[in-house]
Symmetry: C2
Subunit: 106 residues, 2 copies
DNA sequence: AATTTGCGCAGCCGATTGGCTTCACATATA
DNA sequence: TATATGTGAAGCCAATCGGCTGCGCAAATT
């Protein structure tokens, strides 16, 4: 059972759930109302999202409110950082090339 | 056949390929050397990454160099923006609450 | 106490995934 | 021209995915 954050957000329903819950913590039933999917299937998604720490359940009587753990989202951002860094490097090298060319012109 | 960027980066091999290619455009054979996977399987991954515009193939004789299309990566960032916005709103509301509390104290 | 409500779990099932092997084909190279 | 090399496409297969239904259980309501 792979259970990383990237596999979690691969599913469009799960991404939509995250957006919903981001605005306001919600119960499985309330979430299910927004989809053409049985409540149990939503539950399965919530389990996956919880297992990789994107959501956190908070019990309140017989209801369970699922809340977004925004910090976990930052992991995606961190992954993107690699590319920002690499691209920055590329531009730096490009700048050097351009600088060299400019100097040669003189 | 789902083919969106989130499904593309769900696979760890594909994420590694993206990082490799980000540094420098590479041929399928060169990429395959970095994995314990047959070249043909890598080809399949390259096809998927190309189909959702994360990579671009550049033919050079009988070799094909796959290059990262960094712009496409920004789509992930754009998706994350939703959450940044929502969180910003939450903090704004929290600030208001704190402000009200402070005033009540007086 | 009986019923309703909110929920998760287990198990079924067709579709998809991500490996693999075998092949065909075009471009170097001998 | 014959051979070696770089590549993608097709098809196989076990594992996983994402729906579904049918439970059981605890909390709330009657």
């Amino acid at each position: 059972m792979r259970r990383d954050i990237f596999q979690a957000i691969a599913d469009p329903t799960r991404r939509a759930i995250l957006v919903l819950v981001a605005v306001q913590a919600m119960t499985p039933n309330a979430i299910a109302e927004h989809f053409d999917i049985k409540r149990q299937s939503i539950s399965k998604h919530l389990r996956i999202l919880s297992e990789c720490d994107l959501l956190v359940p908070r019990q309140e009587g017989r209801e369970i409110f699922y809340e977004l753990k925004i910090d976990k989202m930052k992991e995606i951002d961190t992954w993107l950082d690699q590319f920002r860094k690499i691209m920055e490097e590329s531009f730096k090298q490009l700048d050097e090339v351009l600088f060299t060319l400019k100097n040669k012109k003189k």
